[in-house]
Amino acid sequence: MDNSRKHNYFDLLFASVTAVASFTVIIFIIGIVAVLFNESSLAIGRFGVVNFLTSTVWDPVKGIFGAATTIYGTVVTTVFALLFSIPTAIGIAIFVTEIAPNFLKTPIGVAIELLAAIPSIIYGMWGLFTLAPIMSRYVEPALKASIGKLPYLGFLFQGNPMGIDLLTASSILAIMIIPFTASIARDSFNLTPSVVKESAYAIGATRWEVVKNVVLPYSKLGIFGGAALSLGRALGETMAVAFVLGNNHRIATSLLDAASTITVSLANEFTEADTDLYLSSLYYLALILFVMSFVILAVSKYFLLKAERKYSR
């Protein structure tokens, strides 16, 4: 009798401790939103919502602020980073699971995980001192001379190749998010039942056919999940791109133009924002990024759940 009461008591304590731990997360999120909203209220009052979202002016001297340029930069760098990284990551995953001999699998897997462990500021410094000069000297002039001359696609590679631009920033982001997509894709490839694969080989399918018709359909979900995770990372990444994007508040049409993302503006301007309205506008940008990330991740989660239901049937 006495013993069981003690048991109940501990159980209750245990349950409440874990519950408190979980609720802190929700409290933190609510707290962050409240602070962002409170701090940006001055800018919200001055510029409104639609006007702030669509205005391309960012002039700290005159005290006129708009978010369109930074939202645009955030979306463009993220989209191109995903375009670069997803095919590469799938390639890595296919090689590691289906093609590589066993003695190569572990070193490559470890290398991918190490890539994920590098702090983003190191990507930033490496981008500034190593990648940007390589891009401006070799890669970008070559792209400009080839793709830049084509119709339809040519506009993407106009202007002076400086190495501080959307292309360099997207490349660094792509390298940063490859490990996420790749390791999740690899894990889901490994989940493909070997019996199915072996049957396919038995009826004379080539490696390419097995990957295309058996492995990829089996692991669509995993790839999608990995991509969603990388998307979240790319949207909010700051230090890796702060150095190589130039913090230029303009709508860039060419990948060789400098631009700015929300996080890049915050990293560059927050410390020296000297008027209340300026600071408030930066908080407003942060609030917008918060909402953007939330919406995008919620949408991808929704599709993921929908797909999961479809496949589990």
Partner: protein, 338 residues
């Protein structure tokens, strides 16, 4: 379990008592990253003499202003002076602590440091995008003997908010009406042309790695990294080199006035040999924090008296003696009897 707890309590108590025994008076400051090296050098020497330890966070001038306004530190540090009206609003006072210079840096093959001559009109034209090539007639007129190439000028500026940008744009605003109309001055501005580098090192890196480029950087940074800085024509009409003598000449002729709380950007100083782009870095005090102000004034008084050599060594320009005396009088006038 109990034993572990007992030991932990003992260790904690021991640590606390040690902490108590070594408790030193600390001075808390925050702000300007430009001033950080000299403040820490002064503080290191000052601690040996007075025992007061400086805890300085170089979080940027904007942060420094915010922290002293909210009274979370003993003093704030800003590269821009606040106007007397702004000071009054937050019940603050301010004084300059040390001076730094900003120099144009170029990367043109064959051009050495202190060789090319520029003036405010050409600087303004280049940064507005009106002067596009190095062999522009205006640049040629200033450098008749140089063989200037017909290459496009790549303009580099700071991408982050910075006191260096504020001083540089203030120089352009004062001398170039077109700049005043189109751009203005501030820690970050809406640049008409050019690419942005993050921090002094970002600007230096882009200028060094991009041929036919121009940028601006703190003089200390430009000299330590062997960047190619130029001469400039000052308001007296003389071409001056960037060196400590011309910065000191600028400091001497800058008219800092305690009645305006020393609110002065000392660009385009009048002196015959004065370098035109220089600015003070300022210390902000809260009027109502008497004890903290005395601590801060003691530290800066000591630094003004003993710190000039150290400042020069770190390529800052110490304040002229007359200005230091004005600051000491200003402290007294504001009830800080250090």
């Amino acid at each position: 379990m109990k034993r572990v707890l007992k030991i932990a309590v003992f260790v904690l108590a021991g640590m606390l008592s040690i902490n108590q025994a070594f408790a030193v008076e600390t001075l808390n400051g925050a702000g300007s990253s430009f001033a950080y090296p000299i403040y820490s050098a002064w503080a290191y020497a000052y601690q040996k003499v007075a025992g007061t330890q400086l805890n300085y966070q170089s979080i940027g001038s904007g942060g420094g202003i915010k922290q002293i306004t909210e009274r979370t530190v003993d003093f704030g540090a800003s590269d821009l002076p606040l106007s007397p009206a702004d000071l009054k609003k937050s019940n603050l006072i301010q004084f300059p602590a040390v001076i730094g210079g900003v120099v144009p840096i170029v990367n043109i093959p064959g051009v050495k440091p202190d060789q090319m001559r520029l003036d405010s009109q050409t600087m303004c034209g280049i940064y507005l995008g009106d002067i596009k090539f190095w062999d522009d007639a205006q640049i040629k007129a200033l450098n008749p003997t140089m063989d200037l190439p017909h290459n496009e000028i790549t303009v580099v500026h700071r991408s982050d908010g910075s006191g260096t940008t504020a001083i540089f744009t203030n120089y352009l605003v004062q001398t170039c009406p077109a700049w005043k109309d189109k751009v203005g001055t501030g820690t970050s501005v809406n640049w008409p042309v050019g690419i942005g580098g993050k921090g002094s090192e970002g600007v230096a890196n882009y200028v060094q790695s991009t041929g036919y480029s121009i940028g601006y950087d703190e003089f200390a940074y430009a000299q330590q990294n062997n960047l190619t800085y130029t001469q400039l024509k000052n308001p007296a009409g003389k071409f001056v080199s960037a060196k400590s003598e011309t910065f000191e000449a600028a400091a001497k002729t800058a008219n800092f006035d305690p009645k305006d709380d020393f609110n002065l950007m000392m660009t385009n100083a009048k002196g015959k040999d004065a370098w035109p782009i220089a600015g003070g870095t300022f210390v902000l005090l809260a009027k109502d924090k008497k004890a903290a102000n005395i601590k801060t004034a003691k530290f800066f008084n000591w630094s003004f008296t003993h710190g000039d050599a150290k400042a020069k060594e770190l390529i800052y320009i110490p304040l002229p003696k007359s200005l230091k005396d004005k600051i000491r009088a200003y402290w007294k006038a504001n009830g800080i009897h250090y």
